[in-house]
Symmetry: C2
Subunit: 373 residues, 2 copies
């Protein structure tokens, strides 16, 4: 293989490639990536990498001198290309699996691996599909992924559950057992069985979200029960889906909240930050003392001190107290974009809904915390 | 004590205070800092912190309601103040060593410590002194501190040696045994015994450098054999000096270099970065192959690959090869500011001088490396 690429394009692609590459050293072959020329395409090459779960294929413009393919260490190439200065990068494979990278006056010689040893990513025709605007897609991820579990304790919660509610309405749902986030998104272009439900892993959504602008205007999502593909522009991701059943969250979403308050979002965020700043616990519990027109926030009362703050709110119901992990409140407040937010609950023990005042498409539910101070 | 401060001023000062505060947990008292009102001063208070080696005293404008002093945990106060929003911060001590911090609607209660338990920083009249322009001072630090040792293996090299050469010329010198950096700075305002030589610790220079703009136009440096004070504007540092003798570096600085080459600095940096990018060693050895008009750079030849590059240089002597740790070359090239740099040496085994072409005030010497590839 012999190709010439623009350094900038190469460098950007390698950054994407590198973030998919497996960083663990248990499977050395996965520290590599593949460049291959495509039959019948004279002006572009295909870069691909995989960690078995998630694969990335990116098409990059290139001048092709000789068809072929190479498989080479991703980090080494990335570290070198990052330092290159000249405009064009010339990549050539020679006998005995050596790769030459020439750029300006510099010349690099790197060992490579038999392409056949690297797991190949095969794009499939899949039965279910959604075509979604890239900005909408970003929203659906941002407003749900934060509530998915981050550790391995419950694999079926390590992602976002996508299902179809009928009426062109997709449902994006995540939970870690203490809170949930739900986004309902109307999508015109879909072919989605209504009994279908898939769990998209966190890593896939994180990576896809990170480079979403490369998809262009729309992302085409296709899937079956095992795998999902995201494609658009010059880029395509393929991920395995999480096996297992997503819990039924409907009973947790309260339907009979009687207490409703409206709080200025930024004021609420700043107040939570102040009050939780003193806590040494990771989730920073905080007590909300609610009375007509007023929300008082109190940190734990501890030997190392305590903080209180008070916000004016729009509330006319009975006075009550309720505790939360302030991290959970801050997570959802930071993905909302409206001036005010609504909190709805029944009493100090009930799950609490947090949402925007005039937007039914998104809601989050947080379980309260028993606070004893 | 009861005082009112501007939040911004408080926040900035706490950042400085916090970077001096001892982060280790072995001496809990040193995790605190002190605020005290000053007799006869109605509009300012004094903040101070120390880790026994380095102390900081900063004067901050304040409205004083009641004279006094407090000693309180630096990190806790910093974490809280960082989140505050209102313009004024009201700090008040109450009975039983509780501190109240009120800002806008928020109120914090923190435990404090007897001020008497905290080591007090006493400013002294010291016999030796230098008054140096802040920009010049920054230069003297930047151009020497990089070559000082960073580990504890040789305490007398963990800083910059300051001495007086006569003729208003101060000498700033550092070495880690593999390289040295020397800055000669002419200073008009000094009172410095010519046989005097002090070693200023790395931490002091790093902190003083970081906040140098707070000194105003000039820094006043006073010292004896034990301690050094840096003052100017509203801020004062006091540091213990490193005990011990700084090695005599004069014999290491070559006087009889016969080979001299001129290299474009940025080109040299970029070339070193490319060639060293592949190395897995921390100091990234590189070989320079010098011939008339040409500098070739070669990485190690290793199983994981190799990189070479070539630069046009101004050189007319005999051809030779010499090895260096590329990190040492990059360190000195990055503190030089001229378009070109000069390398001077005698042969492939001799210490090499690196400096700017028309500036005798600074030089660095790097020991070569035996490269066997």
């Amino acid at each position: 293989m012999e190709i010439i690429l623009k350094r900038n394009a190469l460098s950007n692609t390698l950054q994407n490639i590198n973030s998919v590459v497996d960083k663990s050293t248990t499977k050395p072959i996965l520290s590599n990536f593949v460049i291959r020329t495509i039959d019948g395409k004279e002006k572009e090459v295909e870069f691909s990498s995989t960690d078995y779960e998630l694969s990335l294929v990116e098409i990059v413009p290139a001048e092709i001198k000789e068809q072929g393919s190479i498989c080479v260490n991703a980090k080494k190439v990335f570290d070198i290309v990052r330092e290159l200065q000249a405009e064009n990068v010339h990549i050539k494979s020679t006998e005995q699996l050596w790769i030459h990278i020439v750029c300006g006056t510099s010349e690099t010689r790197l060992p490579s691996v038999e392409v056949g040893l690297y797991p190949q990513t095969i794009l499939e025709e899949l039965p279910q599909s959604i075509t979604i605007n890239v900005d909408d897609f970003r929203h659906c991820i941002d407003k749900t992924l934060f509530a998915a579990i981050t550790n391995e304790s419950r694999r079926n919660l390590m992602g976002v559950c996508l299902s179809y509610n009928g009426d062109q309405k997709t449902r994006w749902l995540s939970t870690d057992g203490h809170r949930l986030a739900q986004m309902i998104k109307t999508i015109d272009a879909l072919s989605f069985d209504s009994d279908k439900e898939v769990i998209i892993p966190r890593k896939a959504l994180t990576e896809v979200r990170r480079v979403a602008e490369l998809f262009g205007e729309n992302v085409n999502i296709t899937f079956d029960d095992r795998v999902m593909q995201f494609s658009g522009g010059s880029i395509m991701f393929k991920t395995r889906l999480i096996e297992g059943k997503f819990p039924n969250c409907d009973p947790i979403i309260p339907k009979d909240s009687t207490l409703e308050m409206i709080v200025n979002r930024e004021r609420f965020i700043s107040s939570l930050r102040i009050v939780s700043s003193i806590s040494s616990e990771k989730l920073r519990p905080v007590k909300l003392i609610i009375s007509p027109g007023s929300l008082k926030l109190e940190s734990e009362k501890a030997d190392y001190g305590e903080v209180i703050d008070e916000i004016e709110i729009d509330y006319e119901g009975e006075s009550f107290e309720i505790g939360f992990n302030s991290k959970y409140l801050l997570d959802v407040l930071s993905v909302l974009e409206t001036k005010n937010v609504v909190l709805e609950c029944k009493n100090s023990m009930s799950p609490t809904i947090i949402k925007s005042p005039d937007d039914e498409s998104f809601l989050s539910v947080i379980m309260p915390l028993r606070v004893e101070w």
